[in-house]
């Protein structure tokens, strides 16, 4: 898309500056986490892994990481199961009749989580789900559904519906068709949705602030307390680990897309 038409110098400069602005805070954390000082700063004399060591040695941080991991895993399973089935149903049934269902599934992307959080706080109080593993899994699972519905719908849009009709025509039951014909084709889409649902739960804080307190204490919650109480370099080490994990998951998703587009 050039045709002798290129952006001017000013716009180019602005774009580079913006890119720098986007990437700077994420990259500056790495040297800060390697500081040899006892406070948040750039390394003065040498690089040091002491803050990573203190992180791993701390049972509080380890506990928070484990809890976050299990919650993310369980809520991803929930979101993938419900979201995939829903996307399949919407795909096969006519657009018009499933319009309301689709809109409903996208609501968590539109409504601010603070509104959902205060609603859940009250709602879970009555169901005795506050500060419970199950409660947080349900909340994260339900809000993870949109990501799965979107990625699976995208995968299904590229799937030839005649394959499904052929399978059914040759006598395959619905479950057989799903298992052997449709699922293998949309597996990358499902996995992609799973990755985003996992990141969503792993990073989620607003809901956790309201519906969890002592029993359930996730990693974002621990970071939140850390930021509000004491800013020590161990926080930078956690931040680097989190960024690293997100990058790995995103690269996995990128590889999936490559494989799918062949």
């Amino acid at each position: 898309m050039t045709g002798g038409y290129a952006p001017g110098r000013f716009v180019r400069l602005l774009a580079w500056a913006t890119l720098l602005y986007l990437l700077l805070p994420i990259t500056i954390i790495l040297p800060v986490s390697l500081t040899d000082q006892r406070f948040l700063s750039l390394p003065a004399e040498r690089l040091s892994l002491q803050h990573y060591a203190s992180l791993i040695a701390s049972p509080a941080w380890r506990g928070a990481i484990w809890q976050s991991f299990w919650i993310a895993l369980a809520s991803t399973a929930l979101a993938v199961l419900a979201g995939t089935l829903c996307a399949l149903g919407c795909w096969r049934l006519s657009r018009r009749s499933t319009e309301v269902v689709r809109a409903l599934m996208l609501l968590p992307l539109i409504i601010p989580s603070i509104v959902y959080a205060i609603g859940l706080y009250r709602y879970f109080g009555r169901l005795d789900l506050l500060d419970r593993f199950l409660g947080v899994v349900l909340a994260h699972g339900v809000t993870g559904i949109p990501y799965v519905v979107i990625t699976v719908s995208t995968a299904l849009a590229a799937f030839d519906a005649r394959l499904e009709q052929a399978a059914r025509g040759m006598g395959a039951s619905l479950s057989q068709t799903l298992r052997w014909v449709i699922l293998p084709r949309i597996a990358p889409g499902i996995l992609s949705g799973a990755i985003f649902a996992f990141i969503h739960s792993w990073d989620e804080l607003v809901l956790v602030l309201f519906i969890a307190s002592r029993q359930v204490f996730t990693l974002p919650r621990k970071i939140w307390d850390g930021i509000n109480e004491n800013l020590d370099p161990a926080m930078a080490a956690v931040a680097v680990l989190l960024i690293g994990l997100t990058l790995v998951l995103l690269l996995a998703d990128l590889a999936l897309r490559r494989a799918r587009d062949g």
Binding site: T2, V11, C86, V115, L209
Partner: protein, 277 residues
């Protein structure tokens, strides 16, 4: 119809989960705003009479507007360069825009605190360069909030704008040039109008998302500048004034849905939430 029954059943788990554990709690918030502390429109009356409520709404709208404008400007410049780049360069630019999109909000807020606080890296750097005498107040105020929020929103602005720009036929631009238009004229008379739908979609998306922001303003605002979400939290967790908190939450949801409703008449929403995304 009977044949479709199995397919309808597939919708059931998601539908039931969504209704029981998403829709119900949100509808309850709406209900609370009319029933507590006393049934009626008392909470909504505060919108007109209570200066504290009005101040929060004013602050929120102001910060959201500023954030939206800056995000659009930066996002447009980025999208413009990306759209006109070679396919190879485009992939790298896009990576640079998309990676921040998925990095935890909390991690980013923490990084900004590290950079912007009084003894932070930016102030230290500027001081050692001799550019400033005393450290600048870059965080724990409105400036900090805007810096953090714009950082979050730029990628959201880029995507719809880029989508619209890539639909522009390059031959139109070449034709305009060939007919003697200057570069400025081509941009303002051809390129900008053709990319306007993307700009509008981006404005809507950014504004809606910023309205409900909680974490970034809470951390970078330092408790001094209250935006709507933090104020709601304060009412409910600290002051236990459910009615008032639920009222502002309801106003927020209704505002967002109304904006989306108006907007869906102008631009195809699928572009935003996409069959693709």
């Amino acid at each position: 119809m009977r044949r479709d029954l199995g397919w309808w059943a597939l919708l059931a788990p998601a539908f039931l989960l969504m209704t029981a554990f998403y829709l119900a709690p949100i509808l309850q918030v709406l209900a609370i705003s009319f029933t507590e502390p006393t049934p009626g429109l008392g909470n909504y009356e505060r919108l007109l009479t209570n200066p504290a409520v009005q101040r929060v709404i004013g602050t929120t709208l102001r910060i959201c507007l500023i954030t939206t404008l800056i995000s659009l400007a930066l996002g447009y410049a980025l999208a413009y360069v990306i759209a006109l780049a070679s396919p190879r360069a485009r992939r790298w630019w896009l990576l640079g825009v998309l990676v921040p999109l998925w990095i935890s909000v909390l991690v980013r807020a923490f990084a900004w605190v590290t950079l912007l606080r009084r003894q932070g890296l930016v102030n230290q750097g500027l001081q050692s360069l001799g550019a400033i005498e005393a450290p600048l107040a870059l965080v724990w105020n409105e400036t900090g909030i805007v810096i953090g929020m714009v950082h979050y929103m730029v990628p959201y602005a880029v995507l719809p704008i880029l989508g619209a720009m890539r639909e522009i036929d390059p031959r139109v631009l070449a034709a305009a040039r060939g007919l003697g238009a200057s570069r400025g004229t081509v941009f303002f008379r051809v390129f900008l109008p053709l990319s306007a739908p993307g700009l509008a979609a981006a404005a809507m998306l950014v504004f809606i998302v910023t309205l409900g922001f909680y974490i970034t303003p809470a951390i970078l605002g330092g408790g001094k500048t209250l935006m709507a979400a933090e104020w709601i939290k304060l009412q409910i967790l600290d002051l236990v004034r459910w009615g008032l908190g639920a009222m502002l939450a309801s106003v927020m949801v209704v505002t967002i849905l109304v904006l989306l409703g108006i907007f869906s008449r102008v631009v195809n929403l699928r572009r935003l939430f996409g069959a693709g995304a």
